[in-house]
Each structure stands twice: as structure tokens, then as C-alpha cells.
């Protein structure tokens, strides 16, 4: 993550080779330069910093953990301590060009409500999440009969804050339910490489360890 921070330009392969967060680069690439951005679940502000330095964005965050907020604010980032499940209601319509939910969807209590709010507050929404449909998760369940514990999902079921896991197919179904349009979609395999674009959904759902979606309202 810190490697991505020091990276002045968005270079997926360089970040990947250095073991950085490729998903953050993919997210940042989906954001047009100079945009107003709200990052929901901004952690310590790594993505905010990336957006500010490489995309010249007015980037703001909401983060639940006090440690994350304090670390970010101490670096001069605009982050508020708050709960996405509650606090998104206080933002007006169309307040941002993009609302980002990076690796946070699975930790919200009300994923559908959060997604609705994102599409209300922002003209576009960018969502990245770990794919529970990845072959290794399926294999864990099938062979061991246990909830998967992987690099991306390292915490046991009884301790994880991730309470709403979904697969890529599940997510696409929710997008349809919300009457939103998928503008772009990227799936990253376990080595951080993009799954080829011309593959069908079921391949993405099997090979993608993480997915990043750019959405817009249809209306």
C-alpha cells in the first residue's frame, strides 16, 4: 500500500511488481482527473492521496476506524470519522463526481442501501470488492467444507468485519436491481493481473479474486 503512495504515476505493472495494491491503481484510473471524489471507507487515506497526487482530485473520505481517520487527517487529508451505513444520508444529491467504495462493500450492514446512496450522491460510483466466487473460495468450501481464509480475506468467519460477501455475479445482479449501468469492469486474478476483457462472466467469476466496477445511474 505504501508503495502505491510513493508512486507518482499510475503504473499497474510497477505497483504489481512491488507487491502494492493494484486494485487502488485500477480504481484511480477509472476516475477522471480533476474530479470531486468521496471515498467511503477510506482507511488511512492511501487512495485519497493517490487520487490527489496522480489525478489532481478534490478527494474526501469517510472512515469508521479512529486510527485510520487520525492517520489520514494528520497527513492533511479531508477525512471524517463516520459510519457509511448511517452518514451517507447527510450528503446532498450529486455532491460528487465519483463516490468510491474500495474493499468496503462486504463490511457494510446495508450494502444495497449504501450502493443506492452512492449513486444518489455521486454521478458515478466505483466499487471494488473481493470475489467470493473465486475458484479458491469455491474449492475451500467444496473440499474442506470450511469458510475460505485467503490473502485477500485473511480473517476467520467469527472475527471478520466482512459480513456481506458476494460474488461477481451477485454484484452484477444487484447493479441490475438498482437500475444502474456498468460503464467499466475489471477483474484481477490472484497475481494482480487483469482477467481478459473478452471472457464471459462465468470466467471472471471463477478467475477474478477482486473486481472493480464503474457504475452510473441509468436515469
Amino acid at each position: 500500500m505504501s508503495i502505491a503512495l510513493r508512486q507518482p504515476v499510475l503504473d499497474e505493472s510497477a505497483v504489481r511488481d512491488q507487491g502494492g495494491r493494484v486494485d487502488l491503481v485500477v480504481v484511480a484510473e477509472m476516475v477522471a482527473p480533476g474530479s470531486r471524489v468521496l471515498d467511503v471507507g477510506s482507511g488511512d487515506g492511501a487512495l485519497l492521496e493517490l487520487l490527489a497526487t496522480t489525478r489532481n482530485c478534490d478527494a474526501r473520505g469517510i472512515e469508521l476506524s479512529r486510527e485510520g481517520v487520525n492517520a489520514g487527517v494528520a497527513r492533511g487529508l479531508a477525512i471524517i470519522q463516520g459510519d457509511a451505513d448511517v452518514d451517507l444520508a447527510h450528503y446532498p444529491d450529486d455532491a460528487f463526481d465519483y463516490v468510491i467504495l474500495s474493499q468496503t462493500l462486504q463490511a457494510t450492514r446495508r450494502p444495497r442501501w449504501v450502493m443506492e446512496q452512492m449513486l444518489r450522491i455521486g454521478r458515478r460510483a466505483v466499487v471494488s470488492f473481493p470475489n467470493f466466487g473465486h475458484w479458491r473460495s469455491r474449492l475451500d468450501l467444496l473440499v474442506n467444507g470450511r469458510m475460505p481464509v485467503t490473502d485477500n480475506m485473511p480473517i476467520a468467519w467469527y472475527e471478520t468485519p466482512n459480513i456481506h460477501f458476494c460474488t461477481i455475479r451477485d454484484f452484477v445482479a444487484l447493479v441490475e436491481l438498482l437500475d444502474a449501468r456498468i460503464e467499466k469492469a475489471v477483474a484481477l486474478d490472484s497475481s494482480g493481473h487483469r482477467v481478459r476483457v473478452n471472457m464471459p462472466w462465468w470466467v471472471w467469476n471463477l478467475l477474478g479474486e477482486q473486481a472493480v466496477f464503474l457504475l452510473t445511474r441509468k436515469a
Binding site: 474526501r60 479512529r66 494528520a74 492533511g76 487529508l77 471524517i80 470519522q81 452518514d87
Partner: protein
């Protein structure tokens, strides 16, 4: 010992404090009758004077001014020796060379509030028209009046824009009022441990304090200065009650528990058996030596009247509509006087108005007073926020950077 105010000491320091009201040991600006301050009470205050302190140097571009606003019983001596008490400034943890509000980088201004008793016009000041103290003839003042007076001071000092306005508690109320009244003059704002309105509970506590002052026979209907007495018992009780609200159950417990004061056994009387009693009595005693009782009535009243949303159709977000100011809001977990919900209401309004805002609730067991104390998290946040603001206006990097 039954009376807990030692008159010998009190009279000397109190006389010193009394002199500060008109002739402060700090710079003072006196506006003549030609420059009245129009008050919310609907009258004009002529011959306004403002006692203030500055720290550091203004830069040529005029981009490094930081206004610090003090709380209820504070004064302009934020980072310099207090001339009455001889104690360090009230915010030396935050303001000074190399501190978060770095006086090597920033030109820091702190003014005694309107209604105060340390050199800015208040009930203890001499009314130039009569030659006697204003007393209760002083019109009631509001937080907005205080801020308008500070704006006059800045005009006088030739400061057009502020890099930041910062303050806690009532100081934070002034910060919010600044942001609402003069958004074009503010680049950044840091309201700490405060609220956009005074709660019913807080008004209630203030009323207890005021009643204690007014119930003292030496208050003399507010004319005690003319009659050569002071309602020090009443003011001491007011301070004791208020002081409890500045601490938390936990901090009182940590500091005193049920420990006895210099004795093995309770005395079965009403002397200060417990350390916490002795401490509160001391707080009351030292306070009456430096603070004017009528000033306490006026400034608490100003806080009670504060309800920023009410001035904007009942919608707080409207107070910040279109504001380009960036905000950093902070609260403390154990502060029950201005609890986190108050700060969150400010943050929600700022979000709704589209303003740039940072907000954090700092873990502390020190209660409301935490903003004045050693709180490394607060310092880190304030430093980061101010650094970022300074960078944005093109100030050179500070020592710590």
C-alpha cells in the same frame, strides 16, 4: 477554615485583575465614538476597546495569520504569561514555536472577547461617558458580537484574510460564527469540542452559575464595583459547579478517587474531607481572584444565546452554504458538555453544504477540558490540518516538515 477565600491574597490579585479591564498588560486598540459596534441586542456600543496579543510575525503576502479564539474564562494570553495569575498561557500546548499552531510560521492573534474582563469592553470596564464601570448597563452581547469585534480588530491590524481560525468550546462557537459571517476571510477553520448551539443542559448549568453569583449579597444588584465589594463566594460556587462539567467521571476518579485531604479519618463535619472537595474549593478561590463576576454572567449568557442554525432558517447547512473554507472538527470521547453528537451535527451540516471537512473523535478520559491538555492525537491532527492549509496557500514548509 470556613471561608474558602483568603481575602488578603484575593484583594491584591483582584485589584490587579480590576486594572486589567481598562489598562491591560497587552496591546489594546480603542475605537472612538465614530466607530461603534452594532450589537445583536439592537444598540450601538461606542468607545469599544479590545485587548489582544499577537505571536510571531505577519508575512509580506498576508497569508499566515491565524486567529485563536478563547473559551468562557480564557483571555488573550494564549501563549504568554498571564499578567494576573503569573501562569503560562492557556493554550501553550497548542500555540508556540514548533507547536501545531507554530508561531515561527504563523502570525497568531488572540483577543479578549467582548464582555470579558481582561482589556476588551465588558461590564467591568469603565464607561467613558460616565467614568464608572458599566456593570449591568453594558448591553448583552452574543457570540456574533464577539466575532464582529474581532473583525474590527483585524481591520485595524490590516489583516484581510485568515489562514485559519481555531478554538475550543466557546472558542469553537466563535470559529463557527466566523465561518458563517465571514467565509471570504477564512481559508480554514478548526472548531474543537464545541457545538453549533448551546444545549438545554448547558444552559441549565450556566443558570446555576449565574444564580450563585446573583444570590451572593455582595453582588448588590450588579453594582458591587461601585460599592467596593465583590460577590466572590457566589462566583466561587459558580466556578466549582462549572469545573465539574469540564471533567469526566473517570478523570475525577483518577485524580482523586475517594481519597481524604491531609487526614486519616473523616471529620464528621463539613470541612473539605475529600481531596475532590479541596480541589474544587481551590478552583473556586483562584478563579474569583482573576475574573469579574458580571463578566461571568455576560459571557455565559452569550453562549446560551448561541444557536447558529436559528440565524439561517433553522437549517445549519445554510450557515455554510457555498463556503470554500476547509474545516477540521474534533471532539473527545469523554466530553459530556459538548459531546461528539454536537460535533457530528456540525459535520453533517458541512457535508450537506458541500464544504471540505475532516472530523475525528479523539479517545480521551479528560472530559471537556481535554482540548486544553496534553492530547497528542489532537496535536497531530491540528498540525497535519494546518500544514496542509499552509501548503495550499504557498507558505514555506515548517520546522517539523
Amino acid at each position: 477554615m470556613t471561608s474558602f477565600v483568603r481575602k488578603d491574597v484575593a484583594s491584591n490579585t483582584a485589584a490587579e485583575a480590576r486594572r486589567e479591564a481598562d489598562e491591560p498588560h497587552s496591546p489594546v486598540v480603542r475605537f472612538g465614538a465614530g466607530a461603534p459596534l452594532r450589537l445583536d441586542a439592537g444598540v450601538e456600543l461606542n468607545h469599544l476597546q479590545i485587548g489582544y496579543q499577537t505571536y510571531g510575525e505577519p508575512n509580506a503576502a498576508g497569508t499566515n495569520a491565524v486567529l485563536v479564539c478563547h473559551a468562557l474564562t480564557g483571555d488573550q494570553h494564549a501563549a504568554s504569561l498571564n499578567p494576573v495569575t503569573g501562569k503560562p498561557g492557556w493554550w501553550e500546548t497548542m500555540v508556540g514555536p514548533g507547536k501545531p499552531i507554530d508561531t515561527e510560521r504563523f502570525f497568531v492573534i488572540c483577543a479578549n472577547v467582548l464582555g470579558g474582563c481582561m482589556g476588551t469592553t465588558g461590564p467591568a470596564s469603565t464607561d467613558p461617558m460616565t467614568g464608572r464601570p458599566y456593570g449591568l448597563d453594558m448591553p448583552l452581547v452574543t457570540i456574533r458580537d464577539m466575532v464582529n469585534a474581532q473583525a474590527m480588530l483585524l481591520d485595524h491590524l490590516g489583516i484581510e484574510k485568515l489562514l485559519c481560525v481555531a478554538g475550543g468550546s466557546m472558542g469553537g462557537m466563535q470559529v463557527l460564527q466566523w465561518a458563517a459571517s465571514y467565509p471570504e476571510r477564512l481559508f480554514a477553520a478548526m472548531p474543537i469540542a464545541t457545538g453549533a448551539r448551546h444545549s438545554a443542559q448547558n444552559i441549565a448549568f450556566h443558570e446555576v452559575g449565574r444564580q450563585a453569583v446573583m444570590a451572593d449579597p455582595d453582588w448588590r444588584g450588579g453594582r458591587y464595583l461601585a460599592e467596593g465589594v465583590t460577590p466572590h463566594r457566589g462566583l466561587a460556587v459558580a466556578r466549582m459547579a462549572a469545573h465539574i462539567t469540564y471533567m469526566s467521571d473517570q478523570s475525577l476518579h483518577n485524580k482523586f478517587g475517594r481519597r481524604l485531604q491531609n487526614r486519616e479519618m473523616p471529620t464528621f463535619g463539613f470541612d473539605a474531607d475529600f481531596q475532590v472537595e479541596s480541589y474544587l474549593r481551590h478552583q473556586g478561590e483562584s478563579f474569583v481572584q482573576r475574573f469579574d463576576p458580571n463578566s461571568y454572567l455576560y459571557v455565559t449568557r452569550a453562549m446560551d444565546y448561541f444557536d447558529l442554525a436559528a440565524d439561517y432558517g433553522g437549517v445549519l447547512a445554510n450557515a455554510f452554504r457555498g463556503s470554500k473554507t476547509r474545516f477540521c472538527v474534533a471532539s473527545f470521547t469523554s466530553d459530556w458538555l459538548f459531546p461528539t453528537e454536537d460535533s457530528r451535527a456540525i459535520v453533517h451540516a458541512l457535508n450537506a453544504s458541500g464544504a471540505s471537512v475532516s472530523f475525528t473523535e479523539i479517545e480521551s478520559d479528560k472530559g471537556h477540558d481535554a482540548f486544553l491538555l496534553e492530547e497528542p492525537q489532537l496535536f497531530a491532527i491540528a498540525r497535519g490540518f494546518l500544514d496542509s492549509a499552509a501548503r495550499a496557500v504557498g507558505l514555506p514548509a515548517g520546522r517539523g516538515a
